[in-house]
Symmetry: C2
Subunit: 775 residues, 2 copies
């Protein structure tokens, strides 16, 4: 398969393309998307092409199109688009000859650069486009276009402004809003979201090097159309003459923390002041500030270095970290990470278990201050979780499968894509019965509390989440008279190709863990922290609930390995037919099984979408002995299609744990390919956020061997053959540790103030300053 | 200026293009648009291009996006779009070599045909696309695509279905709606309008000649996306092999007369039955039916024949008639004609005075049964007109400047495009103060009653409109103590470049006419038709109002010619500066004055947008002697920019009346060019409906010399130099007359049952069967 992605052997920071093909627009838009956690911009080109998806999202600004749809991140009026007409011919790279083409995203600086020479008829010109979303002032977006005329004299018409005609695949979330122009060049548009009533202030200005052109009123014209405001500039370029056009834009909304309580008029005015300051500074200076912020906030923090035969490994880690920071709303604890970040409409900006199980660990171990916001979001979500539990006849906090604004409750759409046999839309059961999300939230919370040791947070928020989720689980258990035990029936486990199953192992074990943890916490708080205990006891009626926990957890059914030591994924999985899945597993496209089977049919095969039992064995690695894990790995891996991007990394880590380093590294490479691979359409709807967390986890948990087990730090590295050295860092209970691993030894340096205890290959170590362990 | 419009010297029925340029998409989409009065479809190509506007509208289905917007015709999910991938290369005419390209609309049959040979890399194929909107079953749209493979073996992927992601420039009027698939190929989509709550049932099916392909499940795949349902077909074509793909679609809505009271489920089912029948018949047979309906309903009815040196003249008349029937909802009196028909988003599908003054006369004189529906629409609009009058503190019926659903009342948007100086949106005053619409409605009504002699309609509906509008005018007049007379202050006349003027001549004279007419009617009814008189007297309080009329009309100020015999357009017009407008008048683009002046500035020049005083002199030709008309023509024509498409035809007719045949014919040709001329962007927002009515009027009223004056028929022809013969027909009070005019004589044949009286050049004639008048 032809691939359009370009790596650079000598540069671990660049990802890009050297060929422009409109069939590949989606890939480039997604994997080179820009953002800063406040906003995300797909990297659609300035000029438009059929097949593009022109998206800008601002975290947390959810809106519901109508009562038949669920809330989603609305596609904000476009600030990026610019049209160019050269001697009245529209710039269009599908026409004429394009040479010296290159588009690259610099992961380190967050700058997207596109350059080429375009020849069409008598026109010949070199274009260089630069842009970034500022990492220092998260409201700012800056672009710079340089055009060098290499041919006949040109009149270049630039048409650029703010375009509010964009939508979410046809659903329009915005009122048209007011438009305004100041001093003939500062353009603003102020739409409202239609249901959540959030106002946006979008501002833009152009700064053109040929000053006499921009200030010559006969050479520009302001135009306003429906949902549009833009300027036309006519620039004359003699042969070899160049011009640069900077476009500086900003976005503010009424839910920004800093605009809280301000009127639209006030925000409009302050945006204009800010825009003028940014215009004054100009592209280059703004970019310096942004680059420094990237360095300070991301790249200088516990850097990861891989010495590998394959440059792609290091690149992938940089790629993952870049996108994790681009997509994570670190500025506001009322927001969380979308399953596609803010790089596409897929999953509507909603937050899933992907956060706790896949992305959160990166932040927990390296950016605890950001992780704290992400777990606080779940604490703020308790109200919505109570709502959901009550709606379903349960107690406590049942977290929504898909979450948007914290108190929204469940936001999973009810209907999905068409069934190929019946042609009818498929019901999405996740929102109803994919209930393991609640223990996943508890898991992420516990990991955060253990790794950071943040007692204040735990006492104020974390403990409550653990207790409240356990309360849900207790009410959820169903007494089965015939079996004389509690069971959990009619669920979807992590493997979404098995709907309405009973006693999904992952669900039952994690529910059991959640309740057991809550019981232990209850006892500890009662004994040692009466203040917190009394408050929570009063709020959650703990004493009554504790008795229920005691009774129920003892009788909760935990599926046991069969005679072959295979842990059954659910009550019926192991009795279903097995088919050869090789051809589907080898297809670069996921979901190809569905070209031949429908969901009902797949439901009745031993075909697993994604890590399920194996995820349980990874997350709770003490549950089963290594031998059984190996048996289960051998059993489930061939039956796992990895049709979810939440799968390969788990298998890769587990394989590494089990010493299958060759298979692990193969899976590692497949996992990188989810977004960086040869399938040029896999990322069309947005980046695979969980997979990016997975890249970090494969590196640090898999090959670095880091694990937080029952509140203790364990580090048992095993490098794949291709790697000579791996160094990375984590923060353990406020102590930054840097770890350098070679095939021979591991060096851990403690940069913190306190001693750190670790376990490694059965031994315990105390690290004061530095320790070297021979491998 | 390069032009893309192609005429055919030997064919008066074809208009088209022989060059494909994406800059010209809008022109082709508009002037070759399809429709049947029930629906209108812009002729966007099957495959998509940047710059296209993909519109389908269904008459009367108005919806309001939100409370800040006015109601408009929503852009219906697209049924026309089809994507083709040849060996995985998307069909795109901007790429490779296109030869033998031709796109033509056959005005006679309503069929749009596009054909070309496309060569790109190793691909070479001939494509022929045909489509029509059925004129016999107005819910049906049919397409046929033939592909002949002229190169290497091809796998052609066809992606086609229903696309609900379209919007009105970003405003989405529809809920997503349910999607359904029957028997693997019948696709349906059932969205609702968001505010008016009208449901739509859109259905489509493909019929592929290579039957083994369409029925081979492995060679097709149904897909549903957000607001989308479509099939993918993979067709294999060896060299020289051909395939044809028919796509048959239908649209029904809950406001269709025949679905009244039916549920969505019922309409969905009946649509499916109808679709299957249409599929069975196939493209060719469906087209025969449609073509016959065009012949029967349009082309065989009082045909117009022009023997001219210029084929374009005859073509233009055919073009005008084609579009007048395409845009006119002849099926439902609750609907009227939009100012852009249903060929674009411009003016939102709203009805203006354009109907009465420009398009209605065509129907009144040739299709009285359709005209009756159009005037009935105004009768149904009385409720909205009362609402508007009451809101403004007036009595009676004040018709809205822009009308949508009959009882909506005023639907003119309040804000328009940006002022180039201030950058702020311009307030649209028409909805508030362009009040002549009310007498225009009365004028159209009176003409309809006079020409058709339809007493039943008059007694039931027509008289009431005349009386109720007069009642409005009486309440509208303002007593000016200083002048001791009634005046009409603060209006916009037909010339919209003069806002807030006092005593616009057109407005004052037509108001005076309206009241005078009502008084006469009052007296006649009172004397001769007590039943109708009593009913209307009771309903409208006529006796009181009649006294008011008597008092006021005698004192209503009618602007008088100045010492140079120029009739002042308003109180201040003649005192404003005069500038040379030649350069703007000669520009093929309208509105170019606004690149240099803003509306306030233009307000203060003797620069007129469109026929104003001259329109008055045309419509009420007895008001002033010919000599004064000539003076006024000479005065106002150089000051008239013809920036409205409601202008040139009036000047052309008046010039013909005044014996200025050469100037008239020049204006005639300019008028044709509004849509058919070399300005390739003038029709982007839709066709100029009034201008099309103007083409008919220039022909029949201008050169045919037909006029209905004070209830009498007058025919005084004068052919332009280029014309040898003109024949046409009208229906005078139920009697079809055919009129043949040469330079020497006029022959009138009366095909009706009664004698017809006419006047011609000062003489009266009675036509029993045939009459020949020497010219």
């Amino acid at each position: 398969m032809e691939t359009g992605i370009k790596y650079f052997e000598d540069n671990q920071w660049l990802i890009g393309e050297e060929k422009f093909r409109t069939d590949w627009l989606g890939k480039a838009e997604t994997i080179m998307c820009l953002g800063n956690g406040y906003l995300g911009i797909r990297s659609a080109t300035e000029e438009s092409y059929i097949g593009e998806t022109r998206n800008t999202f601002v975290a947390g600004t959810f809106n519901k199109f109508d009562d038949n749809e669920v809330t989603e991140l609305p596609n904000v009026p476009d600030l990026i688009g610019m049209d160019f007409r050269l001697n009245n011919q529209r710039l269009d790279l599908t026409l004429g000859t394009v040479s010296e083409y290159q588009r690259t995203l610099n992961l380190k600086t967050g700058e997207l650069i596109r350059s080429f020479v375009w020849e069409y008829q008598e026109i010949k010109a070199r274009f260089t486009f630069r842009r970034f979303a500022s990492f220092s002032n998260k409201h700012l977006i800056a672009q710079k276009v340089e055009i060098q005329n290499l041919g006949v004299p040109l009149t270049i018409e630039v048409i650029s402004g703010i375009n509010g005609q964009v939508s979410n695949s046809g659903s329009q979330h915005f009122t048209e809003g007011d438009k305004a122009l100041s001093e003939g060049k500062y353009m603003q548009m102020m739409p409202y979201t239609s249901q959540s009533n959030i106002f946006f202030v979008l501002s833009t200005v152009h700064k053109i090097a040929k000053e006499h052109d921009i200030y010559d009123e006969t050479k520009k014209r302001i135009e306003m159309g429906r949902r549009k405001i833009y300027n036309r500039y006519w620039l004359d370029l003699d042969q070899n003459e160049s011009v640069s056009i900077e476009k500086i834009s900003s976005i503010h909304t009424s839910i920004d923390l800093e605009t809280s309580g301000k009127t639209l008029e006030e925000v409009k005015n302050s945006s204009l002041v800010e825009l003028k300051q940014a215009e004054e500074l100009g592209y280059q200076a703004l970019h310096e500030e942004s680059k420094n912020a990237w360095d300070k906030q991301v790249w200088s923090v516990l850097p990861i270095t891989i010495e590998s035969e394959n440059i792609k490994d290091q690149l992938a880690v940089n790629f993952a970290k870049y996108h994790l920071h681009v997509m994570t709303p670190a500025h506001d604890e009322r927001m969380n990470i979308g399953a596609k970040g803010m790089s596409g409409e897929g999953y509507k900006g909603h937050t899933f278990w992907d956060t706790e199980i896949f992305m959160l660990p990166y932040f927990t171990f390296t950016h605890p201050e950001i992780a704290k916001k992400l777990v606080t979001y779940r604490y703020l979500g308790l109200e919505g979780a109570h709502k959901k539990a009550a709606e379903n006849g349960f107690e406590g906090a049942q977290f929504p499968w898909e979450a948007a604004w914290p108190d929204d409750g469940e936001t999973t759409p009810v209907w999905g894509a068409a069934d190929i046999i019946t042609g009818k839309p498929t019901k999405i059961w996740s929102g109803f019965i994919e209930q393991h999300i609640t223990s996943d939230v508890a898991f992420g919370m516990k990991q955060f509390m253990d790794v950071t040791g943040d007692k204040t947070f735990s006492r104020e928020k974390g403990y409550e989440v653990i207790l409240d989720t356990a309360k849900f689980w207790a009410s959820r258990l169903e007494w089965q008279e015939a079996n004389q035990r509690y069971e959990i029936l009619e669920v979807v486990g992590p493997d979404e190709y098995k709907e309405h199953v009973d006693n999904n192992a992952f669900t039952n074990y994690t529910a059991h863990w959640n309740i057991t943890l809550a019981m232990k916490l209850y006892e500890e708080l009662k004994a040692n922290d009466p203040e917190v205990f009394d408050r929570l006891n009063k709020k959650l009626d703990l004493t009554r609930v504790y008795n229920e926990w005691q009774e129920k957890v003892a009788k909760l059914y935990l599926p046991q390995p069969n005679k072959d030591k295979v842990l059954p994924q659910d009550d019926t999985y192991l009795s279903k037919p097995i088919i050869d899945l090789t051809k589907y597993k080898n297809d670069a496209h996921v979901g190809t099984l569905f070209h031949e089977y429908n969901l009902d049919q797949v439901n009745n095969l031993q075909a697993t979408k994604q890590a399920d039992v194996l995820l349980l064995l990874f997350l709770f690695e003490d549950l089963f002995p290594k031998e059984e894990k190996l048996i289960n790995w051998n059993y489930y891996e061939p039956k796992t299609l990895h049709d979810s991007s939440l799968s390969l990394s788990t298998h890769a880590i587990l394989a590494a744990d089990l010493g299958k380093l060759e298979e692990s590294y193969e899976l590692f490479n497949k996992a990188l390919d989810i977004d960086m691979g040869e399938n040029m359409t896999s990322s069309n709807e947005g980046i695979h956020a969980a997979s990016l967390g997975g890249i970090w986890q494969m590196t640090v948990f898999g090959y670095g061997g880091v694990r937080c087990l029952d509140g203790k730090l364990r580090i048992e590295p095993h490098l794949p053959k291709a790697w000579n050295k791996l160094s990375f860092g984590i923060i353990w209970q406020n102590n930054p540790l840097t770890i350098e691993i070679t095939k021979e030894q591991m060096t851990i340096v403690n940069h913190g103030e306190k001693e750190v205890e670790i376990e490694s290959f059965g031994k315990s170590y105390t690290i004061k300053e530095e320790i070297i362990i021979t491998l």
